[in-house]
Structures are given as structure tokens and as C-alpha cells.
């Protein structure tokens, strides 16, 4: 239905608009500006058109970082979504244990992100970390565990940290989705003699579609843009085995001060995230659509 239009309301939006313009739109335009020019120094810039874009698109280190990023985000989704669903299914529905589990689950979400990186560094240290000491004392690894000793260790630590940090979000979203299902569906399923697996497949999972869409999109976008945790944990190493797109971008921009290529890269980065989010969204929407219209 069309809502009533009151033109005076636009004036209330104006301050927000001004702030957003200053903090987002103008800087964005600056980035676009940089991506099209080669800047030698203040006031000395040459218009180079799409040169930076071409350079970035053919940069092998960019391709490596991109590949690593996809791997990372893929693993994140593969682990966090099912795990979140399982935790939500296991959570209690009534009584004081509900609040207790919700609070426990929310704790990882409240910790500042680079502090999380530090927590996991300490946790995996071979001298004082619980995990580091523990796994080394088992003596099953040829190279003693340290989070930067080998690429695989770095990845394992990174994934563990990421899953520990963000699965609670997925679990909370799925829990909300599950709680919204009317009791009658479960009663009907019991009466139909459905097994727990059938109940999950035919009732719980379809009805969680809305929250799962949100969970997938949020986790994909966040993990694709990840910076603070890997940087705090490994700094991008060992070597560049955990250099993800954003870490590479920051190195380019502030490390090497190649503003032109970095700006071009930012824009490409933005478009990649946009494209994949769009694909995910359409896919999840259409799974639902096939059932609504018939």
C-alpha cells in the first residue's frame, strides 16, 4: 500500500544525508578519482584511464589473494552454517537455561576483533598457550605447533578463531527462526509419524529459509572483507599464505603507497562482493519462490 507522503519529513533526513555524504560518498568519489590517475606527489597527477584496472586484473599476487579469499569464505560458510544450525537445534526452548545459553553464545560476539586475534595467538603459543602446549605434548606433529610455523597451522588457527567468533551469530539467527515455527507443525509431524530427520528436512529447514538467507549473506560479506583478525594473528604470513584480499589491499595502499592501483583494486573488490551477494540472494530467494508460485 502507498504510504502517506509528508514532504516535511525530508528535512529530518537532511542532517543524516549530509553526514553520510561527507563520510562515505565523497571519500568514495575520491577513491574513484584516484583509481583513474597516477599520483606522483601532491598536485602532480596524470590521468591514466583504465591502466590501473588492467594492471590489477592481471596481477598474479591479486589472483592468489583472491583464490585464498574464496577458499576462506567457502570454508567459513561450509563450517559455520551447518554448525550454527546444529547448535540452534540443540538449544533449549523453555526455562532458565534458555537465557543462560543465549548469553553464553553471545560472549564471543562481544569481544573486540583484534583482541580475539591476540587471544588466539596466546592460546596457540607453544610455551604458554593451552592448545599449543597440549598438542605439542602429544608429540604427533613433526614440526612443533606454533600458529605461524607452517601455513597449514596458520590456516587451522585462523579457521578455528573465525568459527569460534562468528558461529554464535548464525546460531542465534537460526534459533530465532526455529522459535518462530508454530507448535502445530511439530504436533502434526508427530501425528504423521515423522522421524526427527524428516521433521528437520521438511519443517524446520524450509521455515528457516529467511534467517538462513540473512546468515549466509552476512557471513559471506564479512568473511570476504575480513581484515583485523588475520592481521592481528599472522600479519598475512607465514610468507603470504594468509594474505587475504583486504590485507593485500592495505599493503598496497599504505605500505607501498600505490594509491592508484589500490583504489582501482578497492572498486573491483567492491564489485566482486556485490556480485556474489546478489547471486546468493537470488539463489536463496528462488528456492523459496519455486514453492510459493505453482
Amino acid at each position: 500500500m502507498e504510504k502517506w507522503e509528508d514532504n516535511r519529513a525530508w528535512f529530518l533526513v537532511l542532517p543524516v544525508f549530509v553526514v553520510v555524504a561527507f563520510s562515505a560518498i565523497i571519500p568514495l568519489m575520491t577513491v574513484v578519482n584516484y583509481s583513474l590517475q597516477d599520483i606522483f606527489g601532491p598536485g602532480q597527477a596524470v590521468f591514466v584511464g583504465t591502466e590501473w584496472f588492467e594492471q590489477m586484473l592481471s596481477d598474479t599476487r591479486l589472483h592468489d589473494a583472491l583464490w585464498r579469499q574464496f577458499l576462506f569464505s567457502g570454508l567459513v560458510l561450509l563450517i559455520e552454517i551447518p554448525l550454527g544450525i546444529l547448535i540452534a537445534l540443540a538449544m533449549p526452548q523453555k526455562g532458565w537455561t534458555v537465557s543462560a545459553s543465549l548469553v553464553t553464545l553471545a560472549i564471543p560476539l562481544l569481544i573486540p576483533w583484534n583482541v580475539i586475534g591476540t587471544i588466539w595467538i596466546i592460546f596457540t603459543r607453544p610455551d604458554i598457550g593451552l592448545f599449543g602446549v597440549g598438542i605439542n605434548s602429544l608429540g604427533i606433529l613433526d614440526v612443533p605447533f606454533d600458529h605461524t610455523a607452517r601455513p597449514i597451522y596458520a590456516w587451522v588457527t585462523l579457521m578455528a578463531m573465525e568459527v569460534w567468533h562468528w558461529t554464535p551469530l548464525v546460531a542465534l539467527l537460526c534459533y530465532a527462526g526455529l522459535r518462530a515455527i508454530p507448535e502445530a507443525y511439530f504436533q502434526a509431524a508427530r501425528i504423521d509419524g515423522a522421524s526427527a530427520l524428516a521433521v528437520f528436512r521438511y519443517i524446520q529447514l524450509p521455515k528457516m529459509r529467511g534467517v538462513l538467507t540473512i546468515a549466509v549473506l552476512l557471513r559471506f560479506m564479512d568473511s570476504f572483507l575480513i581484515y583485523a583478525e588475520p592481521f592481528a594473528l599472522t600479519g598475512g604470513g607465514p610468507g603470504n599464505t594468509t594474505t587475504f584480499l583486504s590485507i593485500y589491499l592495505v599493503k598496497l595502499a599504505t605500505g607501498q603507497f600505490d594509491l592508484g592501483p589500490a583504489a582501482a583494486f578497492s572498486l573491483i573488490y567492491f564489485l566482486i562482493v556485490l556480485l556474489f551477494s546478489f547471486i546468493f540472494y537470488q539463489a536463496l530467494l528462488n528456492v523459496g519462490k519455486g514453492e510459493k508460485r505453482s
Binding site: 500500500m1 502507498e2 502517506w4 507522503e5 509528508d6
Partner: protein, 364 residues
Amino acid sequence: MVLVLQSVDKIVRREVHLKDVQLEFAPGSRHVILGRTLAGKTSLLRIMAGLDRPSCGRILVDDRDVTGVTVRKRSVAMVYQQFINYPSLTVFDNIASPLKLAGLSKSEIDRRVRETAAILHIDNLLDRLPAELSGGQQQRTAIARALVKETQLLLLDEPLVNLDYKLREELRTELQQIFERRSAVVVYTTTEPAEALMLGGNIVVMDEGRILQAGPTPEVYRHPATMRVAEIFSDPPINFIKGRVHDKQAQLGEAIRLPLNGHMAQLSSGPYIFGVRCNHLFLKSTSPNDVAVQVMVELCEINGSETFIHIDYENTRLVVQDDGVHQLKIGRGITVYVNPCHFFVYDPEGKLVTSPDQTCYTGT
């Protein structure tokens, strides 16, 4: 207040919610809008209230164009299906809320709230929260909140549909009495023909966004202008039989032949559709003009002291509503009697050609 809707349309993303609505509401009149779900009743009510703007057309209050005026500036009160109350306010505060916004004095607010609460029999619940009340009591609170404003327009959107059958009956009688005493224009929507008949006043029959017929309720009931109006405005559903007129006789199907008397005397030859309400078909002959029809029983539903008998006449399903308790077996052949003066006659396009006149109803 005289409310007029002129050529109102409401089209949302190529879906027609309302089309070409022309209505006029006289001051102090009562109107029931009858239609099936998705007929456009709620859309119409929202436009009358000022919550939505029509895509085209005008709304005039006392000859003033108020189409662009927001709902806050109009004198309107609305009651919804879903017992809408402020959950954190007590019943007293709920009812008082519109008066507080209007800035009346505390003593005046107190007086009016208690008065309205007494009318709706909730004056002993004033310090409770809506969550502590039953469905009927919550809806009474919502109605009290709408009444206390003493607006010129009172809109009710199927307010009783979520209540128990008996509660609905009670509240309906009370509402009738309340409406009598008000000088506001009252507009009430419903999907049940029985409710429309019980509330009386005027009726507006809607279907698919259009007004099919409007007028005093008994008149529209006795003279439904189209077959669709007759269908919507009947419960149990009206019976229709195809027939034709020729040789000074009306022939319905193979077996029914009616002489062309009374209101059917002027019918010209050709195909027609004949309609008759269930309560005008009987298991016994009640008048010398009755015509007997052989039919087969499909189902019997006993409703207290009357029975609905579903019959089959030449593959057309009909319903007979007769007094008394009849237990008839499925498949049994019986005779049904009908007085020809009770038939509505429609042309093949569905428009009313002739309807029973008054003498028929008084049994002369």
C-alpha cells in the same frame, strides 16, 4: 457529516484493489460493506479513513475536498479485527489516549472514559492490562477507544471475526444499540451475509474492488441486481437453475414448468436463469400455487430445529432449508415444493430481470 467518494480507484503495482467507487454516506447513517475476502473492503476503509491515498478520484466531506488531508486531521476512528490496544497501558489509559492527545482536562477525560467504559461493560476492568483480558474484553477496549473520541466517522473492519460465535452475537446486539445513539456515520465491513442482515441499515455489496450494489439492506436482499450480488448476499447459498421461457410458460430444466403469473407475467421468450433461496423450498406444500419437483437427496444436515437438505435436480446441486428435523437417507427420491412467486429471474448475463414482489413475502 456527509461523506462522498467520487470515482475512487486504487491500483497498486498493476493490481486493482478498487475501481470506480462512487458512494455517498448521509449523516448518522449506518452502512455495512459486504464482500468476500480480498474484495477490497479493507482498502476502501483505509481510503475513507485517510490512511491511504486513492490512485485517482476524490473524497469529499461536507463538500470539502479532503483527498489530500492526512488522517490525523480528519475526524475518524477505526476498530480492527485484531484487538489492537497499547499493550503497556491499562484499559483506562488505552481508552483515554486519544483524549490526552487532544489535550482535554483530566476531569473531562475521566468522565468520558468512565462513561464509554460503562456503555461497553468494561468499567470494572479499567486498571488491567490488555494481556490480562479475554479476546472479547480486549475488543471492547478497542471499541471504547474508538467511541470515546466522538468522531464523525466510525469505521469497523470485521471487528468480531476473531471472537467466539456467542460472543459475536452479544457484542453485535450491543453495537447495534450503540450505533443507534450516535450521530456519526458508521461503516462496518463483514464477509457474512447473516451479520449484514442483523446489523441492518444500508448495505454496500463489493466484489473484486467494485461496488456491485448499494442501498437499504432489506431492499438489496429482496432485489439483488445481479446474480453475483445474490450469491454474495446469501447464506446458505442461493439456488440457481437454468431455464427458458416459451409458450407462456417458464421451463426450468426438464421437469419444472411454471405458469407466468405475478412478477413473471411480463417475461419475453428466451433463456433465463432462475434463482430461489433455500428457505423457499419446502418438503410439504404450503400454498395452492406450489409446484412439485422430484429430486434426489444427497445429504442432510440437522441444524437444531431446522434441516438443510442438499438435493440433486438434474445434476444441479440445490439446498433446501426447512423447519423441523428430517432424517433422510442419501439417494432417496423426495418431492420438493416451491411457490413460483419466490423466483428471481436473471438474464444470461446475470442481470436481474424481475424479482418477487411484496405480496409474495406476506403469504397472500
